[in-house]
Structure formats: C-alpha cells, structure tokens
C-alpha cells in the first residue's frame, strides 16, 4: 500500500516547484514521483514581434539567478541569426562574467540553498568550539575562520536566535532528523560557513557587475559585442575583478571544499548505495567558448558531449537536431496531435487541466508547466555533475585529476559520483576548476589589449532567418532558438537546464532526472521528507526558466545541418 505525500512549495530554490511522491508503507521506499512546475508566465508570446536586438534583455528576465546566462544565450541566438561573430575582447569579457557568475551561483547554492539539507543547525548548539577547531584542521591546513573564539561567537549567535524565538530562516526546519549524520562540532563548522558565505557571495556578484553593470540582470551585452570597454581597458577595474575572485576562491579552497569532503565522508553510505543517482545519461553543451567558430567546431573550457548509460568509454557528439520537447504530461497542447517537436518547430499553447479535488496532481494527464525535453528520445541529466562526467570521459585532464583526487582521498570508487552526494561534490570541484582558470582568462584579455586590439564590437547587417545558441549555465545545458521574420522575432524558444532535469514523464512514460532520482529512495520519515528535498536541491532547481517560449516555424532547419 502506498501513501501519497505532497511537497509544495519546495523552498530554497528559484521559482515554484511541487514534488509528489508515493511511498510504500511497508518499507518507506519511494515508489513513484511526480515533478511539477506550478507557474507559467508565457514568455513565448511576449517575445514575438520584438526587435531581435532586444531579445537578450527580455530573455534574461526568464531567471534572476542564472541571469547572465539567458542574457548571453539570447544575444548569441540573434548574433547567429545575423551571422555576426564576436571580437576576441568581447568573448573574453563574457567569459569573465560567466566565471564570476558560476562561482557566485555555486557557492550561494551550496551554502544558502542546499547546506541545511546536510547540517543540523540545532545540533550545532551543543558543539564544543575547541573540538570544532581541531576537526576543521583535519580538513584543511588553514581552515576558513576556524578558531575557538570564532566558533564560540557563531554558537552564541545561533543560541541567541533560538532563545529569542527569532529563528529567521531556520524556523520549522527538519532539525533532529535521523538522516542528519554530522556531529555537533561538524554542524557548527558548516553553520559558521553558512553565515560567512552570506558576505562572501557578495564579492563574486560584485566581480561580475564590474563588467556587467549590475547583478542580477547585467546590462552590457549587445548583439555583436560588449559595451563595458572602458572598464575592460582599465587596469584598476581588472585588478578589482581579480581581487574579488581571489577572495571568493580562497573561501572555496578553505571552506567549501573541506565541507564537501566532510559531507562525502559522513554520507558515503548513501552515496555508495547510489541514492539519488537517477538517470544514466549525461549531457553538456560546452562551458565558456574559447574561440569564435560555429558551435559544433568550437573549443570550450569544459567540453560539449554526451555520455550514455554511464559508459565512459565513448563521448557522443551532441547533434542539435536530435533535441525535441514533448508535452504528453505537460499543460500544453501541440496542434495536429504532435507529441514531440524540435525547438525550431516548437509550440506553446497552454492547456491547464487543473488539480484533483484534494489538490493533488492529475498524473494521468498533464501535471506540469514544464515540457519534457529529450535527446534522441532519451531523458538526460544536465548540470555540474553531467559536465564533469562528460569532461572526464573526454579525457579532460584537469577534471580527471580533480575527480580522481577526490575519490582517492575519500577512498571510494567512481560510482560514488552517481548519487545525490556525488552531484553536490561535483559542483564544488567545478567551482574550484573555474576559479583556478580565472587568472588565465584575465591574462588573455590584458595580453590581447596590450597587443593593440581594442575592438569590443563587430558590425553587422540585421537579417531574417533562424538563429540558435547552445552552451552551459551553472545549472546545466541551455539553448535558445529564434526565427527572425521581417526584422522582428517570429518565434522564440528556450530549452533550459531545469526543463531537462525537472521534466514530467514523456510520451513513453520515461521519467525526467528529478523523478528518476527519487524513485527507490528510502525515507526514514515521509512526513519530514529531508531525503527528497536533499536530492532535489542537489540539482540546483531554477524553475522560473522552465516557463517556455515559442510558436512555430518550418523550413530553415537545413541551415544548421550545414553548420554542425
């Protein structure tokens, strides 16, 4: 006999997400899971008829968290339609913003949105600050803000919350849950970094704003280039950027990675049991372009590719033609009874079917405002873990060193990665890999400028036709597709990370990544679904972007067969 549990709202995410699970009452194992986005805005209709040069500014508002990435992809889609490439300085500047944004996203996600799934703040109150200091030193030679006086201050601060009843964001958490595995001292260490990161995350956001104008919703990208040339040519501004990233990287090195090692050690049983592993396919569109060639030939800092069925011996090329979105269980209809459409042929016709009388999802039919994107008919996972697995399989040395180094330290096999814990650690390793690369990014820009190149914009003639852009946002593969007709946007579609991961079942009843990761999850107390929330958060859900875009198009598809 299975009991249904509804978890809505899923908090500590961007957007509105509902998870429904059916739990076998005899053994408390999740038998069925449904992932539903419960908000719709209708960007598709809003984009139509606009100036293609404005697309990035509109697209950016799809999400205030992956803010820069939708902006970049929207601008790139128009650049593709117009046939304009970037001058190197502009690409380098975009990469600098990309790196700062990714470091900001990952650290904010782990500490502010995810860490409370791993550490118990109430237990931290029982910690001995001296013992906590010793433990912190076991995980790093010079741990971040680790001293008896600091931990005493943090503990007193937390105690003051509890005693005053001023629990703030901690009120109502699953404190004391049996699946919290850390000791009071270990809880105190992460609680301390939770507070530290509230201040630290401001720095990487500020770094991105130096060349972006602001964060969230930067404003310096234009079709054909960048407007922040003055900042980019100013040694003082570049130094400021570098300093802020350095401070963030220091926190990553001395707080974030040690905390992940601690979590990996304490939660290794769950990891090795494969809890939260989910799908076996991993996809990346390539992170940070390193040249101006068409996407399929372009070099990326983290490569594009596809790993199927966890087979690391082969990395498949990603073929943009093989992406399609299904609406069998989404609150949309396709004209003519189609079941799957390529993004350039996509339609967005909302068809809300409502909820059951008891407020639960009608899972027989539509149950989400997210469509189900599939690659060659198959569901795939996207995000930091997918990027690292693709890079690992592709022989990327920096990624292999980082991943093997981590599993060697913990003493676990590669299968460790195929889990909620693995996904969480992968994000941290990636943060360090990106932060380590920033000095080179900065040097590339300053050298190019020193060589006399001060171009930040390439001229173009607006053109009609299709345009598309594929790349990686921190939380996964992001593509934007548009068609320009008579100088304005005829249709637009964004296929975003959270639709790949959070999608409802497709026409063949195949689950998306969230649903697959939840099924077979054992739970200790279904009324307090800590394990579910932990796994969902490990994907870094970002639901507003799951709100879709487009109507229809037809014949220009051949164009990008040429480019691929």
């Amino acid at each position: 006999m299975a009991a249904k549990h509804v978890i809505d709202p899923i908090t500590r995410i961007e957007g509105h997400l509902r998870i429904e699970i059916e739990v076998d009452e005899t053994n408390n194992v999740v038998e069925e899971a449904a992932s539903s986005s419960t908000a719709f805005r209708g960007f598709e209709n809003i984009m139509r008829g606009r100036d293609p040069k404005d697309v990035g500014m509109f697209a950016q508002r799809i999400c205030g968290v992956c803010t820069f990435h939708h902006y970049e992809r929207g601008v790139e889609a128009t650049e593709d339609a117009f046939g304009v490439t970037l001058p190197p300085n502009a690409r380098m500047l975009r990469n600098l913003i990309w790196a700062a944004q990714a470091i900001n996203d990952h650290t904010t996600h782990f500490y502010q949105l995810h860490a409370m799934d791993w550490f118990d703040v109430v237990s931290a109150l029982d910690a001995d600050p001296v013992a906590a200091t010793e433990i912190a030193h076991q995980f790093h030679r010079t741990p971040y803000n680790a001293s008896e006086s600091h931990y005493t201050q943090v503990a007193e601060r937390l105690l003051a919350f509890v005693q005053s009843g001023q629990l703030g964001p901690f009120a109502g958490g699953y404190w004391g849950h049996p699946k919290y595995r850390l000791s009071p001292e270990e809880n105190l260490i992460i609680a301390s970094h939770y507070l530290d990161n509230l201040a630290v995350q401001r720095m990487s956001a500020k770094a991105s704003a130096i060349f972006g104008g602001k964060n969230p919703h930067p404003q310096s990208l234009i079709v054909g280039g960048m407007t922040s040339a003055r900042d980019a040519l100013d040694a003082h501004r570049i130094a400021e950027y570098q300093f802020l990233i350095q401070k963030s990287a220091d926190f990553v090195e001395r707080a974030y990675l040690p905390d992940l090692e601690l979590i990996a050690r304490r939660y290794r049983t769950e990891a090795l049991a494969g809890e939260g592993g989910g799908l076996r396919n991993y996809m990346s569109f390539g992170a940070m372009s390193l040249d101006e060639r068409p996407w399929a030939q372009r070099a990326h800092f983290l490569p594009a590719g596809l790993v199927l069925d966890r087979d690391l011996s082969t990395v498949h090329d990603v073929d943009p033609m093989k992406i399609a979105e299904e609406v069998a269980h989404a609150w949309y209809d396709y004209e003519g009874g189609e079941t799957a459409l390529h993004p350039l042929d996509g339609q967005t016709n909302p068809n809300y079917e409502g909820l059951n009388e008891d407020g639960t999802l009608k899972t027989e039919g539509g149950y989400s405002w997210i469509k189900s994107p599939r690659y060659d008919g198959q569901p795939v996972e996207v995000g930091p873990l997918a990027r690292l697995i693709v890079a690992y399989a592709a022989g990327d040395e920096k990624v292999q060193t980082a991943m093997d180094g981590f599993t060697d330290t913990i003493g676990v096999p590669f299968d460790f990665w195929y889990s909620t814990v693995g996904r969480t650690v992968a994000r941290g390793l990636e943060t360090k890999i990106i932060a380590d690369y920033v000095p080179e990014l900065v040097t590339n820009l300053t050298q190019n400028v020193a060589n006399g190149d001060d171009r930040f914009f390439n001229r173009y003639e607006p053109k009609d036709g299709p345009g598309w852009a594929m790349g990686e946002a921190p939380r996964g593969s992001l593509s934007h597709w548009l068609t320009v007709e008579n100088g304005s946007v005829a249709n637009y579609q964004a296929v975003v990370p959270s639709t790949w991961n959070a999608s409802p079942k497709d026409g063949r009843e195949q689950r998306g990544a969230y649903e697959a990761a939840l099924v077979t999850q054992p739970m200790s107390d279904p009324e307090r679904p800590l394990e579910v929330v932990r796994t969902i958060h490990s994907f870094d859900p970002c639901l507003a972007c799951a709100v879709h875009v487009l109507n229809r198009d037809g014949e220009e598809i051949a164009r990008f067969e040429v480019e691929v």
């Binding site: 978890i7 809505d8 709202p9 899923i10 908090t11 419960t38 908000a39 719709f40 805005r41 209708g42 809003i46 100036d51 404005d54 509109f58 508002r61 999400c63 205030g64 968290v65 803010t67 904010t108 502010q112 949105l113 703040v121 201050q153 601060r157 003051a160 005053s164 001023q166 703030g168 964001p169 901690f170 009120a171 109502g172 958490g173 404190w175 507070l195 509230l198 201040a199 401001r202 130096i210 972006g212 104008g213 602001k214 969230p216 930067p218 404003q219 310096s220 234009i222 280039g225 960048m226 407007t227 922040s228 003055r230 900042d231 909302p350 930040f456 914009f457 001229r459 929330v533 507003a544």
Partner: protein, 415 residues
C-alpha cells in the same frame, strides 16, 4: 497605466526641495512619537540592537555611520541620523513576510547581495524575516505552517513584500503554491488583508513587469492594481526596477519603522526619496550630454572609452526615475550606464512595451510620465530641464532636441 497610490500620512510636501526647517521639525516630532510607541510595544523578538551589534562585532560608531548614510539616501537632513538609528533598532520588531509570485527571484537575489547592512545582519538580525521561500529551511507543509503561524501571530502588524506579478487569468491557475494548490491570487489577497503595509518589490510586482508585457498571456498585473480591484485597502508602496535596488527596500522598511506609515509617493506609487529624480538628472555622464558629446554608435570605441553620453545609443535616462546613479549596484561597483549601456528605464510602468527597442533613442516617442501628461522626449527634456539652473537648461534642452532629432538617422546609418 493606472496604479493605485496611497499617501499614507499627512505629509503635505511632496517637493523635497521645498521642505522647510519647520517641516522637518514637525516630521522629527512625528518620528519620535512613532518610535516611542514602537519601543513601548511588546517586541516581536526579545532582541536588542546592542545584542546584535555585539554579536556582529560592530561598534556603535560604525552603526551610526551606516545610519548617517541611510539618512542621506532617504533625503533627510542630519538631524534624522539618530532617528534612523533608532528605526533600525525597532525594525527588529517589524515582522516581514516575503512572498514570491510570477517572479524570477531577481529581487530576492538583489536583496541577499545587499551591503551596509549586509545580508546576514539584515535578514538575521535587523528585520524579522518570518517567511521567505528563497532562504527558509522547511519545505512543503512545514513551510506553509510557518506562513500561517506568522500571519496569525502578527495579524495587522507585519509588512508583506511581494516579488513578481499576479496572474489573474485561468482562475489563477497560472500560479499555484502549497500542498492544496492555492492560487497566487488567493495568496496575495490573504497575505495583504492581514498586513500593516505592502511593499511591491521590483517592476513585476509593482506594475506587472515582463509577464504583463504585450500581449500579457496570463493577464498579469501589479499588486497595487490587483488589490485595488479586489477592494483591499492595505497601503502599498511600489519599489520598481529590475531588480529593485536593495537600498530602496531597506530604506522603505526603515522609513516605515520611523514614521509608522509609508513614505510620500509619486503618481506611480514610488517613494519620492528614491524616485523623484530622473536617471538623467543624477547621471555621471550628464556633463557630456550638456556639452553635446555622445557615443555615436557601438563602433564608436573612442566615445565608449571616454564615457560620453549614451543618449544616441538608446539611453532612456531622461524618461526614467530612480536613484541608480546615486546608490549604484553591488556595493557601488557599477550600474548599467557606467558599464556603457544606456538605461532601459526598468523602473517605469510598461517600459517593456513603451521604451523598446532599447537601442533606439526615444526621440519623438510618446510616453506617460509622472508629470501626469503624455509628452514626447523633447518636451520632457525641456520641461524637466527648465526646473534646473536656467542657463544650463536652455543649452541642454536645445542639445536634447538636436540630439533627439539627429539620433534616429544616425543610428540607422550606423548599422
């Protein structure tokens, strides 16, 4: 563009320039009365500012410095420094419920990147954040319980902050939240009815924003308009911009703590202290506008390097009202105009439709402004500039007309 606006207090002077010493003394007395009243109330939480400062390792002097900056931002004279400090102290007694609607969370993200006070002080110490999905530990029913509990405990006392627009089409089905599938529409009604005041944070919440842009597929609307339609009389202050400036959120909460009412608002429901000046009036590139020196197009790298005026590449600063040029973003690191991109007018109602295309100058385009009249760019420029020093105004007005008429053909030639 109808936005319900409410002037919550008897403050008769909307023109801050015209405020007299006498007026400020009256205002100070009002603040003292309100602060005394709040201090006499049972605290929501038994925590004092001194505790907070001690825990954060801040000195009283640091704190007063922070208060002085906020006083200036609020457009108040230095005699209010201590009152702003007191307001921060009693703000710990103001419960805040932050609810997301048709949002992108950009405003939450902006808030957690606030500095002075930093996020940790702000959220954990200085305001009493009872409910905020982006940061709270519990999910599902446990989160719903936290919300219900806060509404009941602080009935009529809390500040409701909304982020995102209200979708009213499809019986509210375009947004549901919580285990019973309650609609966003119902959430706004319920939370607002029991609130002391409502803050609409960001342009979506203030005026519908991007979901309400043509053709507005979900019939999205701003919170004030929605409450007006439903006959809910809780006072609303609009804090538009995309995202809202965190300084403006914090300042509004402090002003509410100080005076016990919402600040004086403009015709679009925005606090005058933050939105009375045009971007153009406080722009760091204004000197170049007055001198007729413009970035002539995106190939004009010399113009960009020299930081010339961005009017000809589409800057909507002359049409937009906000304090961005003064407070900037991300701890003052930058703002769009500093980064070489024109203002897109994101704190103006309907800007997605009325101020686009963004890269085209606004010459000759009709736009409704807080002046209450429809006017084109040239008229606005002339009228608004006329209020400034006469000599500059004439020159600048003439430049604006000249620039506005020339810019379209130039822009066409450019690309």
């Amino acid at each position: 563009m109808t936005t319900a606006h409410r002037h919550a207090g008897p403050d008769p002077t909307h023109d801050l320039e015209a405020r007299t010493q006498e007026h400020y003394e009256w205002l100070a007395a009002e603040a003292d009365k309100n602060l005394d009243r709040l201090e006499a109330q049972d605290p929501v939480h038994d925590v004092t500012l001194d505790d907070v400062l001690k825990r954060r390792g801040l000195s009283r002097r640091d704190f007063l410095k922070m208060s002085a900056v906020m006083t200036a931002t609020l457009g108040l004279p230095p005699m209010f420094d201590l009152r702003v400090a007191r307001a921060q102290e009693v703000a710990t007694r103001l419960p805040v419920i932050w609810q997301e609607l048709q949002s992108c969370s950009g405003n939450s993200m902006a808030l957690i990147r606030n500095a002075n006070p930093g996020t940790d002080e702000l959220l954990l110490d200085l305001i009493s954040l009872e409910y905020a999905e982006i940061l709270m530990a519990p999910s599902g029913q446990a989160a719903e319980d936290v919300l219900a509990d806060a509404i009941e405990r602080y009935d009529g006392q809390y500040i409701a902050v909304f982020e995102g627009s209200v979708p009213v089409a499809e019986d509210g089905g375009y947004l549901t939240i919580g285990p019973t599938g309650e609609t966003g529409v119902h959430k706004v009604e319920h939370i607002s009815k029991h609130a002391a005041a409502v803050i609409a944070a960001g342009t979506c919440s203030a005026y519908g924003g991007i979901p309400a842009a043509r053709p507005n597929p979900t019939t999205a609307m701003g919170v004030a308009d929605f409450l007006g339609q439903r006959g809910i009389g809780t006072p609303v202050v609009n804090l538009p911009a995309c995202p809202v400036s965190s300084t403006n959120v914090v300042g509004t909460i402090l002003e509410y703590a100080m005076f016990g009412r919402l600040p004086s608002l403009d015709a679009y429901g925005r606090p005058l202290w933050a939105y009375q000046d045009r971007i153009h009036d406080k722009c760091e590139r204004r000197g170049h506008f007055d001198a007729g020196e413009f970035v002539e197009g995106w190939t004009d790298i010399e113009g960009l390097k020299a930081g010339l005026c961005l009017f000809k590449v589409g800057c909507k600063g002359p049409m937009a009202y906000n304090n961005c040029g003064v407070v900037r973003y991300n701890e003052g690191a930058s703002w769009p105009i500093m980064a070489g991109h024109g203002c897109i007018g994101c704190s103006e109602p309907g800007f997605w439709d009325t101020l686009t295309p963004f890269e085209v100058p606004l010459a000759g385009r009709v736009y409704a402004t807080p002046f209450g009249t429809d006017a084109d760019a040239d008229t606005i420029g002339t009228v608004a500039l006329g209020a400034a020093a006469a000599g500059v105004a004439i020159h600048a007005g003439a430049t604006a007309v000249k620039a506005a008429t020339e810019s379209r053909s130039d822009a066409k030639k450019e690309q």
